[in-house]
Every structure is written in C-alpha cells, then in structure tokens.
C-alpha cells in the first residue's frame, strides 16, 4: 500500500515508543523491529496522527515547517512500509 499524505494514519496498536534524548525508540511487538524516530517533532507528529483527518492536517497542527514536509512524509512512509503506521 502506497503512503498517502492526504489520508489518515495511526500508530499500530502493538508499537511502543520509548522517549530518548534524540526523539524516541519505537518497537513493534508484532514484527519485532526497532525504529529510531530521530526528531522530537516526529514523535509528537506520530502520536497525534490519529487526531487528524490527514497527515497534512497533522503537519499543520503540530507546526512542522512546510519546507520540511517532504522529509517528514518520507519518514512516515518508511514507518508505514514497516507496519509501524497503519491506515486509521
């Protein structure tokens, strides 16, 4: 499934986030993979995705600089590809 920033996502229910100075360490109890969220804003974003109609709405609400949207979209797409994010 291709990642679509105009639709809504949420964290997989078997994913746990551990806060770290650089952001967070994410662990997926289902596929047992680890993932580094290497920016505090990425953590805030990932945690709030579920509250918004689309990923772009979440970008806006969290206050991500539009110039950084492409790199955040890429990060979220990779999280979705490894099943850390699922369609809400």
């Amino acid at each position: 499934m291709t990642f679509d920033a105009s639709s809504s996502y949420r964290l997989h229910e078997r994913v746990a986030l551990r806060p770290e100075p650089f952001g967070a360490l994410a662990y997926h109890y289902g596929n047992r993979r680890l993932n580094f969220l290497r920016a505090p804003e990425l953590v805030t974003l990932v945690e709030s995705l579920d509250d918004h109609e689309s990923v772009r709405d979440a970008f806006d609400a969290v206050g991500i600089d539009p110039r950084r949207w492409p790199s955040f979209e890429k990060a979220l797409a990779s999280l979705a590809a490894s099943d850390f994010l699922v369609a809400a």
Partner: protein, 394 residues
C-alpha cells in the same frame, strides 16, 4: 556511514543491525548512540554460570553455578524494572540458562511483562516436547550455538557429543514448526572455511544464521592463539558477509570495516552506550565480553537497581564520552573501524586507545606479541575444576 542499508526484511532480532531508520534526523545516528540511550537496546542477561559443556572459548568461563546467583524473586524484580524502562527485548544466556530450575518461569514472566526474550542454548534441553511448547510462545526466540559445521570441528571446541545434541535440538525445532530460530556460530580459524556449510544448514532448517566474532574473553583467552582467524580469513569473511546482508552478526565485525565499505550495522562499540550485560549475580558489565572488575558498573542489587547503574554509573558515563583515537589517530581508517573491540584489546594486553589485536592493517599484532602475557588480565572463573565428559541430553 550509510544508514539506508540497515533495514533487512524478515529480520526479527532487534539488534543494532536490524534497525529500520527513518530519514528525518538531526545528527548522525552513530553520534547519538555514542552518547548513550536512556535504556539499552541490546541487553544480555546471563542467568547462571552453570553449564553442562566446557567450551574452550567460553566468554564467561562458565561451568559451576555460583551460590550467589540471583533468586527467582530478584530476577522477577529485574524484569519489572526492565519493563518500566521499556527494554523491549533481552538476550538470555549463561552458562546454559535452561539449567536453572526457574528458567521457563522467568521466560514466561518476562514475556507477560512485555519484555521479549531470545535465549541462547546448547540445545541439550530442547527435546520434542520443549520444541512444541516454544513453537506456541509469542515473543520468544531461540538461538542454538554450534561452532563447527561438522561434529569434528564443533566438538573440538564445545566437547564430545555437543554437535549431535545441537543437531537434534534443531531437528526438534524444525519439526515443531517453530519457524525462524537462530543458529549462532563464533567464527574461528577452524570454522571460517565452513561458512557456506553453515548457511546451507540454516537454509535447510529455515533458520537464520548468526556469525559473531571470537573474543579473547573468559576461556577464550586461553584458546585465542589457536582459534582466532588469520588475516586472510578475516578478509574472506568480510567479503562473504558483504555479499550476504541477511546473515546476522550482532554488529560484531565492525573492525573489518577498515577494509573498505562498512558492513551493515552501526559500526561502533556499543559497550555501556547501547549494550550491557547483567551477570548471574546481578552485576552489570559494559558488554558480554568484559566480565572483569575494570568494566563492572554496579549491581542490580544496589540501591536504585539497574536503572541507576545504566543511567548514572561512572563507568558508563565515561564510556559515553567522546573517545580519543589514541595510537590510531594517525591511521586514516579510524572512522571506519573505531579502533575495534574494547574487550579484544583489554584481554590481549593492548591499551584501550590502541589498535584492535586483529586490526586488518596489521597494527595490532606486534602489540599482542609485545604484551607481557603473564600480566594479562583474567576475569572471574566458574570453570569446573577438571574437564569432564560431555553429559549429553537429559
């Protein structure tokens, strides 16, 4: 360091070489790792020093149970703490951990508290019934240790009959439909020529192959000169691994990255930064290969428990400081190999800011030869007093 190649499909062992990395970053991941994390990524817990084998390279010189080992209640308290710290996954070893009468209880206790378990075993307790039980458990991984692709090579290191025992355990896991268990091999002079045979064996069982570096730790110090790979073998292994990124290495061959392209993984020494060891007595060491007072950070039995040791011990804070390249500063490859393995240097008598004893550029070997072997540091020893015959399966 390339980060994009760290993600391998199908890898379930969350070690530094299994990370999926998001492209958003503020600084290099390696730098973040070097400064340490709030809790370890990869924690090894040796449950007992008791073992029915006497492998000549045993990094913990195991054999006899130590009467001071953690009680069941103390072990449960450690698991409670790991749960609070969100240590998602632990590697249990020994000794032979399955010898502990409360082994299965502790595994289940950990899993029930959200702490996944991978345990290493020589296979002696993995009969058909245990294999069935394991196949039905979530969050439990099994790692069978062998050190040769045939009985002769393996038993030379692990003791007579140990190959047949491990093979039988693998058959049982395979027959029970356990799925992708791990076959773990310490790379030696005798078995590096067998890497293809190990890979074929893993494929035959639907298992995942894991090759790690032999260190001169524990009884490995005594067998080092006979067993450590030749320079040419290290080069062969490096190229073999580069071609097979699906083979796990526990990030242990980063000293080989001085040969060129980095192997998959973080390529740094994780000791006290992302890795540590809890020994059977609850003592916390910087990594599984340095069971020596010099690298003892504290005890889970102390006030503040494991968390305080991990977050505040002087030793770990020091290991998270920027390390000097020392004698390696003038070599153009330090960024690639990071000076190699702390444990390998320590137990061969090389200063910690010196080159790795197996430095691929040959800087280590003269130092090993010059080191006074009589002054070589020796760690705690739980070996049985006299070698005994392999006890075989229960």
């Amino acid at each position: 360091m390339t980060l994009s190649d760290l993600s391998h499909a199908g890898i379930t062992e969350p070690r530094p070489d299994n990370l999926v990395l998001s492209p958003v970053k503020q600084s290099g991941l390696g730098d973040q790792m070097k400064r340490g994390l709030d809790a370890p990524i990869c924690l090894t817990w040796e449950l007992t020093y008791a073992c029915n084998l006497q492998c000549v390279h045993c990094l913990s010189s195991s054999g006899r149970r130590d009467p001071r080992e953690l009680t069941t209640e103390e072990a449960e308290a450690v698991i409670d703490e790991l749960e609070r710290m969100q240590v998602f996954y632990i590697n249990i070893g020994g000794g032979e951990p399955t010898i502990r009468p409360d082994f299965w209880h502790l595994v289940e206790y950990a899993v029930d508290h959200g702490v996944g378990v991978k345990f290493s075993t020589n296979g002696s307790r993995i009969d058909a019934e245990v294999a069935e039980k394991l196949a039905g458990m979530d969050y439990v991984d099994v790692q069978i240790s062998i050190d040769g692709a045939d009985a002769e090579t393996n038993d030379h290191v692990r003791g007579e009959g140990s190959f047949a025992t491990a093979e039988q355990a693998m058959e049982h896991l395979h027959d029970a439909g356990f799925g992708e268990f791990k076959i773990s091999v310490v790379m030696t002079r005798h078995n590096i020529p067998q890497v293809d045979a190990f890979k074929a064996m893993a494929d035959r069982y639907g298992a995942q192959l894991r090759l790690t570096r032999f260190r001169p730790s524990g009884r490995g110090a005594d067998s080092w000169h006979e067993l450590h790979p030749t320079d040419q073998q290290q080069r062969d292994l490096y190229h073999w691994l580069l071609d097979r990124p699906d083979v796990l290495t526990g990030d242990s061959f980063f000293h080989l990255s001085a040969l060129g392209e980095a192997l998959p993984g973080l390529n740094l020494c994780g000791a006290g930064r992302v890795v540590c060891l809890i020994d059977p007595l609850g003592d916390v060491y910087a990594c599984p290969f340095v069971l020596h007072d010099e690298f003892l950070a504290g005890s889970v039995r102390g006030e503040g428990g494991f968390q305080k040791v991990w977050q505040e011990s002087d030793l770990f804070l020091e290991l998270r400081e920027p390390q000097s390249a020392g004698a390696c500063a003038s070599c153009g490859h330090f960024d690639a190999c990071q000076g190699g393995c702390m444990a390998a240097k320590f137990f061969t008598g090389i200063p910690l800011d010196g080159p790795d004893p197996e430095c691929v550029l040959g800087h280590g070997e003269p130092l090993v030869e010059a080191a006074d072997q009589a002054l070589r540091p020796v760690g705690a020893d739980h070996s049985r007093p006299t070698p005994v015959a392999f006890l075989g399966r229960k």
